[in-house]
């Protein structure tokens, strides 16, 4: 199919893009990689009246590192992040997840901020933002605000962004010393949406006990699902097989999978448990070795 008619505007600057958006409101959509938006338009699942093309905005294509904290711009494509040594060094969880997202051709075009603005709970990246404790930088003609990842994903394909706002940047905090992360998923085919996936991040305290923990799952509910109670079980304890098994069992209780044509909700729930156990086991080993990933 071809999309329904729409107007097209190539943004000349960030301010220009925001002005156009403020004017058109919800009827307009920002176009970055277009990896989800264009197919949705071709199927006529999305019929925006206007596309505001961010691709001319080269100044939004960046990765900066400040004391280990990463900032990634709205026009930065997956493949740049995937192959960035600084990302692998400071935020290995992000480096680890990227090869799981679709195929190289798609990663050459798609952007992280575009993905996150789309807020597809089946996508890996929103869960990674939760696990990494990322912040989202929303920008509009009216000003700036930072939104914690935990507050950003409201519902299926719904974010905290206002109609006049753009997600211009994401910030991932520096991973502390003695930390380990892991992302793991199971898909029927490589490159497909996962039946379920888990992102985990663990930091040991000076005594080798679990100082902080975060666990988030994709395709496990209407939003990326943080398994907060499971993570809480780990804190203060020794990260042994028993503790990890208990956390995995708890994570299984925290997800709300729906099932789909490729797998049942029961299987997704089962996966949530197995993958949480595997991800925590890897992350804990990496934290102990001080290798992060």
């Amino acid at each position: 199919m071809k999309p329904a008619p729409f107007r097209y505007a190539a943004a000349q600057s960030l301010e220009h893009a925001l002005a156009l958006k403020a004017e058109a409101g919800e009827e307009a959509r920002f176009l970055a990689g277009g990896q989800s938006l264009i197919p949705a338009m071709n199927f006529r699942l999305a019929q925006p009246a206007m596309l505001i093309d961010l691709n001319p905005l080269d100044d939004l294509d960046y990765i900066t590192v400040d004391n280990g904290a990463l900032r990634i711009g709205a026009r930065t494509r997956y493949s740049r992040v995937e192959h960035c040594a600084e990302v692998a060094r400071w935020q290995p969880l992000l480096a680890e997840v990227l090869p799981n997202i679709a195929h190289p051709q798609i990663r050459n075009r798609g952007t992280l901020c575009g993905n996150l603005s789309n807020a597809d709970p089946a996508s890996e990246l929103p869960a990674v933002m939760l696990a990494a404790g990322a912040r989202m930088h929303a920008h509009s003609a009216g000003g700036d605000r930072w939104i914690a990842a935990a507050d950003f994903f409201i519902n299926l394909f719904e974010t905290a962004l206002q109609p006049d706002e753009m997600l211009v940047e994401i910030e991932l905090p520096a991973l502390p010393a003695r930390s380990g992360t892991c992302f793991i998923e199971v898909a029927r085919r490589p490159g497909d949406y996962a039946m379920a996936g888990v992102a985990a991040s663990l930091t040991l305290d000076a005594n080798g006990r679990c100082g902080s923990a975060s666990i988030a799952l994709c395709n496990a509910g209407p939003t990326p699902m943080a398994a907060a109670a499971a993570a809480q079980l780990l804190i203060g304890g020794v990260l042994d097989a028993e503790a990890i098994a208990a956390a995995a069992a708890q994570a299984q209780e925290e997800v709300e999978p729906n099932g789909n044509v490729h797998c049942t909700a029961d299987y997704q729930r089962h996966l949530a448990g197995v993958l949480t156990r595997r991800a925590l086991t890897s992350a804990a080993a990496r934290a102990r070795q001080g290798t992060s990933a």
Partner: protein, 734 residues
């Protein structure tokens, strides 16, 4: 000189395909061509009560909207060519009856494809809906016996299966199920219909141009001489292009009404319903064996679905009638009617699904008897066809088992299941027998030796991606005595000499003898011309003349020779004709290809995920006319089998009857990353009975046995027996 037949030559059509020069049906154009889009019903059963078409009619570029209200009336209500199993019941807009969700109910024609699509999107139908039969299990209560199961009777029995079962000391008695599947050839069906007066030319993607001509003529009330079908390249058929489906006739109807050429290409989603698919099967297999592990009785009762429109039988029990020696057997086929599209032949119809059931059951029996699965098969080896007692024309199955076991390292396989493990993966080895009948039908060909010393050989056959262009050129070159590069083989035009459908793995077996005969006829005429008085080899006897590498030479004096070009001389061309058809060999022999397939499965203990790192297939398929294309056919067949075992399933919404995974994103087939090592080994066979070239079919045997071998390997790994395909992850969680 080395024989040309048998060489591992590259495909003759390879460069045309990779450069895009090969013209597929959808690539053809005609002056003034319009574009048609097929519109499908959105309910599974009922009547069309209204059509709202004003908006569609006014849409830009729309030229014509054809519905049951205005479609031209056809002879016998459009059913004139209905002749099962290949002549299908079509939906040709002759009435407003809806039999399934997705049934063609209109054609919208416009000046561009986009306009046709946009117009079609604005067409609205209202229906009087009726309760549809969509539940296989519920429909089983009214299962009935079909007239035939493929070419055989629906029910075949010998001995006394009940008594044999009573004597057994071990029994296996289970139901095995295979799901609805969809062919999904890479090239979707496409048709261009061009009328010149009362002459119709169809550019179609078809496995059978002769059949398509006949069907089109009958359906439209024409003489076959008024119809020409052209199909030089086919991007895969897998059985779904073995019949003429509704869209082909509808394109011709629209073109006649509009008096301009009409192209109609199906979208990928439209291939799930109106162009066939494999029906669901539920197969009850019971095996009984004595202490000596010999089968005392075999039962195989098959229930498969068909459409309410027509009976199509997936003949899953047919191989059970010939594969193992037993004195007592009973096999039946039953049908249940559902409100779905008409199912059809798909990738070894019968054997692909039937061997899953039978060979899984044999595996289960081997565990029950605690003997090796190969040993069980050898104990029950059929030295002759077990029912009628006919000898096999050739059979190397024992060799296949032996070579396969050796190469796979079978002797290192622990008898007990669930004992091999590497890390988180459970490892298992399984095997199964493969088999497919050696089919053949009459065919004809022509061969023309031209004055430039080249030859053009023609037959109205098809190359559905299998290598017909290449293999037939090899047969022709060798028969004529020309090098390969001076022979051009042409196919895909119904004005050429008749050939059968490319189905049933029989193109090579049927067409190559005709090609050979035509070339030998042309060669004989060329020799006559060369030895005629005044000709270069005047005075020689015809038996003294040999041909090779483009020359005619005398055996008695090789220095006397003349080129093909000179021998043709002023005649311009010398033409030969050839016909070949099966004789009485089928009455004397049972003719089949056999093989043994070995699989290693690795199952993630926690996730249930199966990987197949290694498959070995050993086959006896008669003589291979091209070692490369033959091997490729078998590898492709094994990949089909892996797809069938692990992925393929067409899911029907039980409420609406709509296919819910009608796309390649949701209907999974294996991609390169899913496939590990596949090794194919052939056992040389010299079978003088099947046909003059000694070639048995290789197109479909590759898929047979694979489903069971995978399931058997997965059981060996996990001790979990899964009896319904596909083997998805959830089925391996306890």
């Amino acid at each position: 000189m080395n024989p040309i037949i048998g060489q591992a030559l590259d495909r003759a059509d390879g460069p045309a395909k990779v450069t895009g020069a090969a013209q597929y049906a959808g690539d053809f154009t005609a002056s003034g061509m319009a574009y048609a889009v097929l519109v499908q019903s959105t309910v599974a059963k009922g009547m069309i009560t209204g059509v709202v078409q004003e908006a569609a009619q006014r849409a830009p570029g729309v030229l014509h909207i054809m519905t049951h209200l205005n479609a031209p009336r056809l002879p016998q209500g459009g059913k004139a060519a209905f002749e099962p199993p290949a002549g299908r019941m079509l939906s040709l807009l002759q009435d407003g009856v809806i039999d399934y969700n997705g049934q063609p109910i209109a054609v919208v024609v416009a000046d561009t494809f986009q306009h046709a699509l946009a117009g079609a999107a604005q067409l609205r139908f209202s229906y009087e809906q009726q309760p549809a039969a969509l539940d296989f299990t519920a429909a089983k209560r009214s299962a009935y016996a079909p007239k035939k199961a493929g070419k055989e009777d629906a029910d075949v029995a010998w001995g006394d299966a009940g008594a044999g079962m009573g004597r057994a000391t071990e029994r296996i008695d289970h139901v095995y199920a295979t799901p609805m599947q969809t062919h999904n050839a890479m090239e979707p069906h496409a048709t261009l219909a061009v009328w010149q007066g009362d002459q119709l030319t169809i550019y179609d993607s078809t496995q059978g141009i002769a059949g398509a001509r006949k069907t089109m003529a009958k359906t439209l009330g024409l003489d076959p001489s008024q119809v020409r079908v052209i199909s030089p390249f086919v991007g895969g058929g897998f059985g779904s292009k073995g019949s003429v489906w509704s869209h082909v006739v509808l394109a011709a109807m629209a073109a006649r009404t509009l008096r301009r050429p009409v192209k109609l290409a199906l979208a990928r989603t439209q291939m799930f319903g109106p162009v066939g698919g494999r029906p669901r099967t539920e197969q009850h297999v019971a095996l009984g064996a004595g202490g000596d592990a010999r089968l005392t009785a075999v039962r195989h009762d098959v229930v498969s679905h068909t459409s309410v429109m027509e009976d199509f039988v997936e003949p899953s029990a047919t191989q059970t009638r010939m594969l193992y020696a037993t004195d007592n057997a009973a096999t039946t086929h039953r049908l249940v009617k559902l409100n779905v599209g008409v199912p059809t032949f798909q990738r070894a119809p019968g054997e692909a699904t039937g061997t899953f059931a039978l060979e899984s059951a044999m595996d289960e029996l081997s565990y029950a008897l605690n003997i090796d699965p190969i040993e069980l098969r050898l104990r029950n080896y059929a030295e002759k066809e077990p029912h009628e007692g006919k000898p096999f024309s050739s059979k190397s199955l024992r060799e296949c088992y032996r070579i396969g076991a050796e190469r796979f390292g079978w002797s290192r396989r622990p008898r007990q299941a669930g004992t091999l493990r590497e890390g988180n993966e459970l490892v298992g080895w399984g095997m199964a027998t493969a088999t497919y009948p050696a089919n053949r039908m009459p065919a004809s060909a022509s061969a023309k030796i031209l004055a430039d010393g080249t030859a053009v050989v023609r037959s109205a056959t098809q190359d559905i991606g299998t290598g017909t262009y290449t293999v037939m050129a090899q047969v022709a070159a060798e028969a004529l005595g020309l090098p390969m590069e001076r022979v051009r083989f042409e196919l895909g035009d119904s004005s050429m000499p008749d050939a059968p459908v490319s189905g049933g793995s029989m193109t090579v077996a049927s067409v190559s003898p005709a090609v050979q005969a035509a070339c030998l006829d042309a060669r004989a005429k060329l020799i006559e011309a060369a030895i005629a008085p005044g000709a270069p080899l005047a005075g020689a006897t015809r038996d003294d003349v040999t041909t090779g590498d483009g020359w005619l030479a005398l055996r008695s004096d090789p220095s006397r020779r003349v080129s093909f070009a000179r021998a043709v001389g002023g005649r311009g061309a010398i033409e030969g004709k050839g016909e070949a058809k099966p004789g009485k060999e089928r009455e004397q022999f049972s003719m089949h290809s056999f093989g043994a397939v070995f699989v290693e499965a690795r199952v993630d203990r926690d996730l249930g995920r199966i990987r197949i790192p290694r498959v070995l297939g050993v086959y006896g398929v008669g003589r291979r006319l091209n070692a490369k294309t033959a091997r490729s056919q078998l590898i492709g067949g094994i990949v089909w089998g892996i797809g069938m075992a692990l992925m393929e399933e067409t899911s029907l919404d039980p409420a609406s009857g709509r296919v819910v995974n009608a796309s390649l994103a949701d209907y999974h087939v294996p991609v390169n990353a899913d496939i590990g090592d596949i090794e194919v080994v052939f056992v040389d066979e010299d079978d003088p009975h099947v046909n003059p070239l000694g070639a048995k079919g290789i197109g479909e045997i590759g898929i047979t046995g694979v489903g069971a071998a995978v399931a058997n390997a997965a059981f060996h790994a996990t001790r979990k027996r899964v009896r319904d395909l596909p083997l998805t992850l959830d089925k391996f969680l306890v």
